[in-house]
């Protein structure tokens, strides 16, 4: 479908902005571990995967630009905090290594489910963009699982950190499954997999299976989100994050870089 309707274009924006913002935030928070990861090899791998995520965000912002949104630069450097639509878990401030491993694992498992739902939208530029990301994302998911495996089987101490991090992040997972805008908007594409409940079920079944392998207690289903889950009208952390992220740019906001 090369000529989506106006409703479908609006819907597409509401589907892609959350994804672009999630990818950007995972890339940004991931890059904060530079020189702080527990070993050199993972430090290199993480800085590289963080760049991948920022690259994916750029691809999506460019796609949005083609649909009439402002440029990628605007989205990243100038957009006010209340116009960002990432899930909170992607932008949580850096805490422990175990928390980062768990956050990445949950995010990658969710992202796989989301990408396979979006791939069913018959809009060729989107299908092409997702295809480009697939190879890198398949690696991200595999590596995220390997890091979980190391913590799960690394002895009582690491297992303890893992359990604690899962408990901390679990409450935030709900937001991932929400889109922005009313249900009718994503439903205009007539792709059942895009329904938040469908994505949640697929995510839960994958994670439940992995938890059984790692001997991790299954904390029942992921909690349900509010419809405003991806709106950050009064987020305490976000303005600080944006200031930090834009610090260099803001030295000379009008300059051409």
């Amino acid at each position: 479908m090369n000529h989506p309707t106006h409703e479908q274009i609006v819907a597409l924006k509401r589907l892609l902005i959350p994804m672009a913002d999630d990818e950007w935030m995972m890339g940004h928070r991931g890059s904060e571990w530079l020189a702080l990861a527990p070993d050199l090899e993972e430090d290199l791998a993480l800085s590289s995967t963080s760049q991948d995520e920022m690259g994916h965000a750029k691809v999506l912002y460019d796609l949005l630009h083609d649909l009439g949104e402002p440029s990628a630069d605007y989205h990243v450097y100038f957009r006010p905090a209340n116009r960002w639509h990432h899930a909170r878990v992607t932008a949580l401030p850096k805490s422990s290594w175990a928390e980062w491993v768990v956050r990445r694992y949950f995010y990658e498992m969710f992202d796989q489910v989301r990408r396979s739902a979006l791939e069913r939208i018959p809009y060729p530029p989107l299908v092409g963009a997702l295809k480009k990301m697939d190879r890198e994302e398949a690696y991200h998911a595999d590596h995220a699982r390997s890091l979980m495996d190391i913590l799960a089987h690394g002895g009582a101490e690491s297992y303890g950190y893992l359990r604690e991090a899962i408990t901390d992040d679990w409450a935030y997972l709900a937001d991932l499954f929400e889109w922005i805008g009313p249900d009718e908007s994503w439903a205009s594409w007539d792709v059942g997999e895009l329904a938040p409940s469908a994505m949640r079920t697929r995510f839960e079944s994958q994670v439940h299976q992995d938890f059984a392998i790692w001997g991790i207690y299954w904390p029942e289903g992921v909690p349900l989100a509010t419809r405003k889950a991806r709106h950050h009208d009064s987020s305490p952390d976000l303005p600080a994050l944006l200031d930090d992220m834009r610090e260099v740019r803001n030295q000379a906001a009008k300059a051409h870089w």
Binding site: D39, L40, Y139
Partner: protein, 118 residues
Amino acid sequence: MPPIEETPVYEVFAQHDALAFATHVGSLRAPSAKMALELAREAFFRRDPAFDVWVVPATQIVHARDFPITLPTAPEEKSYRLPSGYDNGPQWKRFKASEQKIEDVAQEMAQPVRRIPQ
């Protein structure tokens, strides 16, 4: 993960295409061979693709320096081993010029009477 110094070292080799020799590109520490491949991907192949990557536990590599008698040393006089008189240069030139396939060369070599072009 065990302490860093107990984490095994893997030597990393890359093959750039199916016919290329694997070339050593570096080494890294990883808790398993699979993890070594995952980490090698980002440490050594961020920009350049590879046809294949091998990781080998460093402890599995046998060094000639540990068995000095096996170490190849500079020959005193080995000109009798040099393959003069078997000049394949012209074949190679034609192979490269005509974009022959390796099978064509093999077929040519297999012919009963080989003429060495002058």
